[in-house]
Symmetry: C3
Subunit: 459 residues, 3 copies
């Protein structure tokens, strides 16, 4: 007997309890940072308002915000009857995750006299952490209940903060655009979760696990907003000045090169040379993922384009050849193909970051070296090679925590208490949503034409 | 006999006459302000361009602009056959209102030697005023002609400017995000208009007064852009520095908490625990409305989240229980449920603003107090309690002017000269638009399957 | 026999070869500019990061980026079965063009010791050039293969850079928003290309060369984003300070006035007074085009509104009366009507720019004159009248290069090697894309209703 999918008690309960806990913890732990607080900012009456971090970061924050809510949300509306859930659950778990991330990241990244300080930078970081959860959501899309997703978010945000703490605070890694912390982590966490939640009879919903014409156009809204704003994503929390500027430029060139590779290889792998919307919607974004670590470094436009081109290529090939293999042989049902968009390009990005860091020198960076590799300013015997090594270790740590975390989370999500959809009802909005009928006029029209046909034939 | 809905003379006439009047008045009255004018800005050759208000306000302006045109426009496309009108009339009345508002607000907010000064701040304020008109549009959506809407805009913008003048210039109220001036005003004005325009036989169009699957996804474009950019809306015209920064953060947290409340209560009020798109599209935004007044104050993230949670809750409950009651008993046909999204949350926001202001102190705000409560800088015996009182009076004034203004406007809009749609043709684009047929291939497909069916059955 | 439309070799080959060439040329020729390079920016340890051009230009760049990818992309999705191609090919040729434009513009606009310098300003300029290619794309939409479009982009970007060089560097013209360089050039280039590619039997695809209900709503996404962000487009590369501010304001007012003219005349030219989506989607934008040259000057809001009103008017009349004439008599098949949106308003903008420049004086501009007309600062006998003359010459040059360039490009595109669609398969995604079926549930529903009908009638 299938578990009931009725959410009436479960969803309100978890939403309200989680929010009440969040509110209490915010009340106890959170306060404005120095740039946000009326008293602290105006200690000195002569402070120039233009130096408030708000003006350096807020436009980037808004672009990141669009990527999280419109980008991820619409990207996942490609399924024919899962648009409400894609947009809606994306909205729900993002709204929860950004609050929970504020607490977890604040806790790990240094409390100030027992308080977590918030402002535009913490808001960007919270959105970043949310991004990782939404990547994992892509793997389990259509096969999970909203309660299950919220529980996954609770656990994933926590482990994200742990991993981020190890990378940034202990290993001193550079990862401003999150090739490791966001994309690699989110992807392998999600892949492990969907592996544990493997459904042998998922083909009962197979006919719904595909797009229709208009749903593919909705998904393009997500793709294009992600693509356009990725330069802001990668540069949002780099240092002021040349690093922000350079990161945006590198990401811009990487994505452009990635797009040409995507179109080329999408046509090449099709017997009739036809383009596949799945590739265009996803692989064209891999160039943003792959410069997430090295983007702030002196990668040069030339280097960025090579990286972008490679990322687009492996991503298309992954969709074509690796995803079917992973599904049939490894039992990894990856609805959105996050392994191709975030997994492999994330690893590529981590490697590119390690190599680029290992090649850094005061010759190339001048005084800017201290601005990109903050530790270099503090010690006279900073070594680019050692730095590169730590970057590589960071990738290994990320993979380890993601896979182990996904394993534990997956088993936790297998408990029969979340109201998950039965195999026949996956990828279907009607399970959790009031779904309206089809268009009125439309039916009338069809009925009329039907009637005409009938009259002709029956006469 | 139903009045003709042919717009051929009426719409061109009103559009062209209004625009010609606007152009003449702009020619006589409007000039660039000191930051926009070539001569005035460069009086001093050494002026630092970075201090131009453009760089402080323009990114926020663009976010507000997106909310007005994409946010409101797409939010109202949820109706199955009213997407052209929702987007189109939203576009038309917004383009008119922002010009008219520039004049009206300029007239009331201080002429400079007989001239109205324009620049990015006046552009934001004009967009804000436009927002109030679009809120009212939500109440009468589907039941009005474009000419009627333009006439409504002429009157509403004027009364908006009067109310704003009383609140900001006479009562010295704080209302940067417009909980009172925009949301409360727009909502109760619109509710009164729709009350006066009550259609006893509206159920003749009942089958069109609902959504279809894709129209709900289009509406989500509106919702999400409103949700994401609301921090910019509330902070767009606050003082530079910490107030802008703090307002954005408060709005961000309020909306996140509101979203969890919305999902929780939407599921709770449904017998099967299913989520309702109407709630997600609208109630999740109430958290932005409810911190429109207090957002710039030291509300704290904790306080913002409580306010957002309450706003989402009352909004969902309003959609479920209050709207049907208002329609059947009070004869208020509120198409978009603006009472739940803007009305009640607006009042909540005004009350929260009054209380937060009444609790303000130099202890908490430090020197920042003068930056938030500008009058405090001017007088040594400024009293937070008195301030709170004036905030409360401002709410009462707003409600009074909105209801009275809506009443007068409503009667004015009842004149049988506007080409309003008959009861049977409400919520229908074809009345005022050339509407294309359905998809070609699609029909062919249906015809083929029909033919196959027929052949099978007739054989 | 129709040429094969199979892209399997052609598209991958051209994508990969072009990208490899781009990467090599970037490797040899391109380096970061002074604000983007770590060493150069930090030469002086005391450089204030706030003075980095990134903070003046990046928000505008992102708005322009949205216009290029979302604006143009969605605007062209109005065709019922060409949404994948509209979005997809727009994406492809934009991603290529911005890279190629970086090289071409860098080559012409001054090499630095044999190197092309890149940063946010070059990124905006590259996007601008891309805009011209996308305008031309609008004329040939639905009738060209992706390979053909890439070849067109190669040639058009090159000629764009030549024309831009002559205008800006030789004639010293002002054209910050590109009325001439972008809109007039892109339009007449595209019109000439489509003239040469004239298809006498295009009416075989006539039934697909129109919109359906939802495709018109998708197109409105493009329209509205273009409309909203046009103030950023026109002001993106003007001087810092008052010129940026003034340009944004002028564009804002011009577009508002244009919108009222568009609605008025759209209704007026329809026998039943009904509005036409084609006009609203396109003509309402003409106001942005028409202040592309004069926007940075002291045009005043009053002047901007007059220009916008005129632009909207001629654009609607063009769609109604000129486009059919051009198609039947001049054999110019202009799918999107770019002549009405970019051609005529572009010429209007050039004329307005010439007149406004000719009327400039130190009386009106004060010291700001040197900021708008950079040559004025360098010579004591600068003459506004001469300047106006050079602006007029610039328009003539642009028309000449565009028409001649389009002619040559058109003949080049006639070669039977690109896999162009046959006349019966124009405006059809299925030629170049894997297109999914229609919605599952939907069919079931129709089949059920069909069956019911049948049973009733057959009983």
């Amino acid at each position: 007997m299938a578990e009931s999918t009725n959410m009436r008690l479960r969803l309100p309960l978890i939403c309200i309890i989680l929010e009440v806990i969040l509110i209490i913890l915010f009340g106890v732990l959170v306060e404005y940072n120095d740039d946000t607080d009326a008293k602290k900012w105006n200690k000195n009456n002569s402070t120039d308002p233009a130096t408030n971090e708000f003006y350096y970061r807020y436009p980037s924050f808004q672009d990141v915000h669009v990527m999280i809510f419109v980008g991820f949300g619409f990207l996942m509306t490609f399924l024919q009857r899962y648009g409400f859930s894609s947009m809606g659950f994306n909205f729900l778990i993002a709204a929860f995750s950004l609050q929970w991330a504020t607490l977890m990241q604040g806790f790990f990244h240094g409390m100030h006299h027992g308080k977590i300080h918030v402002g535009v930078t913490s808001m960007i970081n919270a959105d970043f952490c949310t991004g990782a959860v939404l990547i994992s959501f892509g793997a389990v899309l259509g096969k999970t209940s909203p309660v299950q997703l919220l529980v996954m978010a609770v656990l994933e945000v926590t482990l994200f903060a742990v991993n981020e703490y190890i990378l940034l605070s202990i290993l001193g890694a550079n990862d401003a655009g999150g090739s490791m912390t966001i994309h690699t982590f989110g992807a392998y966490f999600g892949l492990m979760v969907t592996r544990i939640l493997h459904r042998p009879n998922l083909d009962k919903s197979k006919h719904k696990n595909s797009s229709v014409y208009h749903s593919d156009l909705f998904a393009m809204i997500g793709t294009i907003f992600l693509w356009m704003f990725w330069p802001s994503f990668n540069s949002a929390i780099t240092q002021y000045g040349d690093p922000q500027h350079r990161t945006a430029a590198n990401t811009y060139y990487s994505l452009a090169a990635c797009t040409l590779a995507t179109f080329g290889f999408s046509s090449l792998v099709n017997p009739e040379g036809k383009l596949d919307m799945v590739h265009i919607q996803n692989a064209a974004l891999a160039g943003g993922v792959a410069v997430g670590t090295a983007g702030e470094m002196m990668l040069t436009p030339f280097g960025s384009m090579i990286v972008g081109f490679l990322a687009g290529t492996i991503s298309v090939l992954g969709y074509k050849y690796l995803t079917p293999f992973m599904e049939s042989k490894l039992k990894i049902q990856d609805t959105c193909g996050i392994h191709n968009l975030h997994g492999m390009p994330g690893i590529l990005g981590a490697i590119v970051g390690a190599v680029t860091a290992a090649l850094a020198s005061r010759d190339v960076y001048g005084n800017g070296l201290d601005n990109v590799f903050l530790e270099a300013a503090e010690t006279s015997h900073w070594s680019a090679h050692t730095k590169g090594g730590f970057q590589a270790i960071s990738l290994a740590v990320t993979l380890g925590i993601a896979l182990l975390g996904g394993l534990i989370t997956g088993f936790f999500l297998k408990l029969p208490i979340y109201g998950t959809p039965p195999d026949t009802q996956c990828f279907e909005d009607a399970v959790y949503w009031e779904v309206p009928g089809e268009e009125e006029d439309h039916h009338e029209l069809n009925e009329v034409s039907t009637r005409n046909e009938l009259e002709k034939l029956n006469s």
